[in-house]
Symmetry: C2
Subunit: 225 residues, 2 copies
Amino acid sequence: MMMMVRKSKGLGERHQKILDFIASYQREHKHPPSIREIGEYCDISSTSVVNYYLDQLEKAGLLERDRKISRGMRLVGNTPLGDMLRVPVLGVIQAGEPIPVPASDFSLFDADESVEVATSLMPAKEKGKDLFALQVQGDSMIDAMINDGDIVILKPAQDARNGDMVAVWLNDKNETTLKYYFKEKDGYRLQPANPQFKPIMIKKTEPLEIKGKVVMVIRKVDRYN
Amino acid sequence: MMMMVRKSKGLGERHQKILDFIASYQREHKHPPSIREIGEYCDISSTSVVNYYLDQLEKAGLLERDRKISRGMRLVGNTPLGDMLRVPVLGVIQAGEPIPVPASDFSLFDADESVEVATSLMPAKEKGKDLFALQVQGDSMIDAMINDGDIVILKPAQDARNGDMVAVWLNDKNETTLKYYFKEKDGYRLQPANPQFKPIMIKKTEPLEIKGKVVMVIRKVDRYN
DNA sequence: ATAATACTCGAACACCTGTTCAGTTGTCAA
DNA sequence: TTGACAACTGAACAGGTGTTCGAGTATTAT
């Protein structure tokens, strides 16, 4: 069968106007408009016509509707901005001092600060269960490709799988460091991210104090301090 | 007049339950609940009581209401999550190839991918005017403390101020690199972020092709390799 | 012309929903 | 006890709102 063309070449002018109105109304009122409000703005005298267009927009995947529910619509094309995650910054991480880890009792948001991270950037489903962040102080993490001022986001953990980047407390060196973790036959190998540095070998007899797994590193490049 | 204490010490258990319900309902249905839905979940038999509590929550500043409008309520304490920014990933940056920069004509979102970044993490008011992102490929940026796979977010620029981290095209070396920029009397000094590397000096006679300023670096630490 | 299709209209319906109000209960102070 | 007040109930009301239906108009293909 032949396809009709008419003026409707994909998306009509009216579809666009409705879409724009929903967006602007949403911005102003913090909630979607009703069918009648759409009709009024778009000079559509009948609610059924608005409904008619809304259906088409929904079929086109530009809109989601919760039928029967007042103002139950939302744009999907324009606002696929995923959720954000508020990760508390518990403190700083630097050589010579143990890193602060979230208290065993689900510590509240009593962090001094917090950073917001888009969930879309989160690797696995680390859905912010109990992530926390630390600000790197000093150049001691330089062999982990992490700079002074960087923010590392980690997940509390006591053990790790091969290839994880972990925050470990090195007893003998009396410092905290970030390394890639590998288990080997005679112990553990802690591999710096920067291949120009040599790995640290830990014997099986020594305890390995893993504090957490690194999930993400954020560097705000403001200015060379 | 004496203050009565009763059980209502600030925020009652019921207030909290209502707040929690609104939050979870919102997450699941993408829109706020109605008064009756709240009442049903919280075992409140009368809509007027729900209204009663909603008023209190509004007075407490925990809730905003659009009276007369269906489901016209929203939590304010829980959602001060700032805006997000959608930054298009235009391609990869690697040694030996010029980096793709946004076309002079306001190129649309025809990028293959994009990353979402919280505006709260943005340094100045780089309010996403025309930011773009590149994915680092290879270890060539290692002296800039930037790893293979990292995402660098930059702002288009042809010149820079002292201390800016810039993406420059080095004609003689035939590669793109990220360095801190410093203007000096006899030319330009390009300083690696990693202090263990030496700076590159550019004579004033040679052209300096600055492609953009680095605003942020994001490293998703998923797994080694 | 004729039929098919897209679009528009107006009105009515039925439910959803916030609001209001008169009244009840329990607690606390005087 | 008495009164004040917060918490609560139940019901009804009025308007908002999505839905549906029958009919009309315009455009296009055949």
